[in-house]
């Protein structure tokens, strides 16, 4: 039995907008499982259903072996949640926010303070515990929310776009915490993201989701290997371009550069450079490019994930419209 089991889950908004379309997947205990897809692919809707904020149109799901439709309180108790937008009370202090959470989740009085101290230390906010949350930066807010999600010792932590809107340095910081949670606390983590690097770096397995459907599900490595090989990009002296193309018959010319498709670029590049030297081809620059998850997404859908960011406003509008529907 897996810790999350989802079968043919469907969510239809306003009778015709299929936000989530018959998705089926399992999440194993102790893994970091990622939902990767553009904005509006149905990631947040799926999380909302799994954490019982939204009622599915059809299909079923079991979290820690509790049914999300009939055992909502038990499901809620075994989940920790960090939403895309802050759900902290900004008029309260960091510690007060954590205290309220502990009480809402029925953490016994004698354990409350110890656990609050523990999670505050973990996210390095112990010295800020008495500060009003309103004064916190985006990164601090996210860290505090992660800390809060852990107080009741959830079996699964849901993170919806955990690093959205954070600067690269803070993002790395949050990643470190997520990895730490898995390693030290053996926690199962379900995260959604539209950042390739994030999914690649963190996840044990990734479900690529688009238009409400899971289009592929595997480890990041296998997803990328499925594309068949790396690329070597050679920037040669202009007069040598034709000569190079003669040597490498299957090479492509793109924007003044030579593109070579190879199995293992790390080993091959040595030979390629050697051959160029022998043929007196002047190589200005040589680069290796490993396939990214973006290439995977591109191959599956014919689009890049990034293109979708233009529609962010539209998605936000839709999301806020649906945010408080359900039950």
């Amino acid at each position: 039995m897996d810790i999350i089991e989802v079968r043919n889950l469907v969510k239809i908004f306003n009778h015709d907008i299929k936000a989530v379309d018959e998705i089926t997947f399992n999440v194993k205990k102790g893994e970091i499982f990622g939902f990767l897809g553009p904005n509006g692919a149905g990631k947040t809707t799926t999380i909302s259903m799994l954490c019982t904020l939204l009622k599915p149109t059809s299909g079923e799901a079991r979290i820690c072996n509790y049914d999300i439709n009939s055992q909502q309180n038990k499901v809620r108790k075994c989940l920790g949640l960090v939403f895309q937008d802050s759900t902290l009370d900004d008029r309260l202090t960091a510690r007060e926010n954590l205290e309220l959470h502990a009480r809402l989740y029925g953490v016994p009085k004698e354990k409350r303070n110890k656990r609050i101290d523990q999670v505050l230390k973990m996210v390095e906010l112990k010295d800020k515990e008495k500060s009003i949350v309103k004064t916190f930066s985006g990164g601090m807010l996210r860290r505090l929310e992660i800390a809060r999600g852990l107080i009741h010792y959830p079996k699964i932590l849901f993170l919806d776009e955990p690093t959205l809107g954070l600067d690269p340095q803070t993002r790395k910081h949050v990643w470190d915490y997520i990895v730490k949670l898995k390693k030290e606390y053996k926690m199962t983590i379900f995260l959604t993201t539209h950042y390739m690097e994030e999914a690649d770096e963190l996840c044990d397995r990734i479900a690529i989701i688009d238009h409400g459907k899971i289009i592929d599900l595997d480890t990041p490595k296998k997803l990328k290997d499925g594309l068949g090989g790396d690329t070597i990009i050679l920037d040669v002296n202009d007069k040598d371009i034709d000569k190079t193309l003669k040597i490498y018959k299957n090479a492509k010319r793109f924007d003044g550069q030579i593109i070579l498709s190879v199995k293992n670029a790390g080993k091959q590049i040595q030979k390629v450079l050697e051959k160029c030297r022998k043929n007196k081809i002047e190589v200005v620059e040589a680069n290796i490019r490993k396939p990214t998850l973006n290439d995977v997404f591109l191959k599956m859908t014919g689009r890049e994930i990034r293109e979708e960011d233009v529609g962010l406003k539209e998605q936000l509008r839709r999301r806020s419209k649906h945010r408080f529907r359900g039950h």
């Binding site: 309180n73 009370d89 900004d90 008029r91 007060e96 309220l100 959470h101 009480r103 945010r323 408080f324």
Partner: protein, 248 residues
Amino acid sequence: MSEIEAVYTVWLREMIRYFRQKERIISSLVMPIFWLLIFGGSMRSSIDIGNVDYRSFITPGVIAMSLMFTSVMSGISIIWDKELGFMKEMLVSPVSRLSIVIGKALGTSTTAIIQGLMVMLISIAIGLKISLVTFLLIVPIMLLISLGLVGIGISIGSLMNNIEGFQLIMNFLVMPMFFLSGALFPINNLPIFLRIITYIDPLTYGVELLRYMIIGTSSIPIVVNFLIVSGFSSLTIISSVWLFSRRH
């Protein structure tokens, strides 16, 4: 047990938020003081209401006003929680919707009672005489009145997603309810059609209840007042629980 803890938690948060906004507490006392000192003082000679002086007469009305304006804030607070996001934190926690509403209702009522008592203390400071027993008995009555108004606030707050819409509805509801409640004038002197509207206004019975407690007389029998206020409060609280659970 855990649901009682949940009610307490939601209540506790309201308390922390209330006491953290000291400037709001002070500013909310300006209107009642204005009514008591200036209006109550200046109209003293021009309104004849028998053997009670006008300022004492409107004191229950001004208390009711304080209760009302503070109580309907429950609706704003619900909408605010949705915008702030904290509502989600409560909704995904293993706590029933009933507990959230009851905690919110009791929290707002507590702040309303504190406001009401402050107005009463101001009245005492400027000359109102009441016994300690009355002072203590008035607290549960304030709670009863306030719960009814809190119920209206939460019901409407559950249906709306933005503060502007809420304020629009409230202006059409709160102001008429206050001015037609006999808070500022005796009901018996009104022309018949205004008197009918006054009898429809549930706040009238709350004001009358407070008036009986504070100055010892009311134009509607005390039992009637009590039953109507209790009935009204039960009704709006039930409606608020129902609407909140349905919408969230």
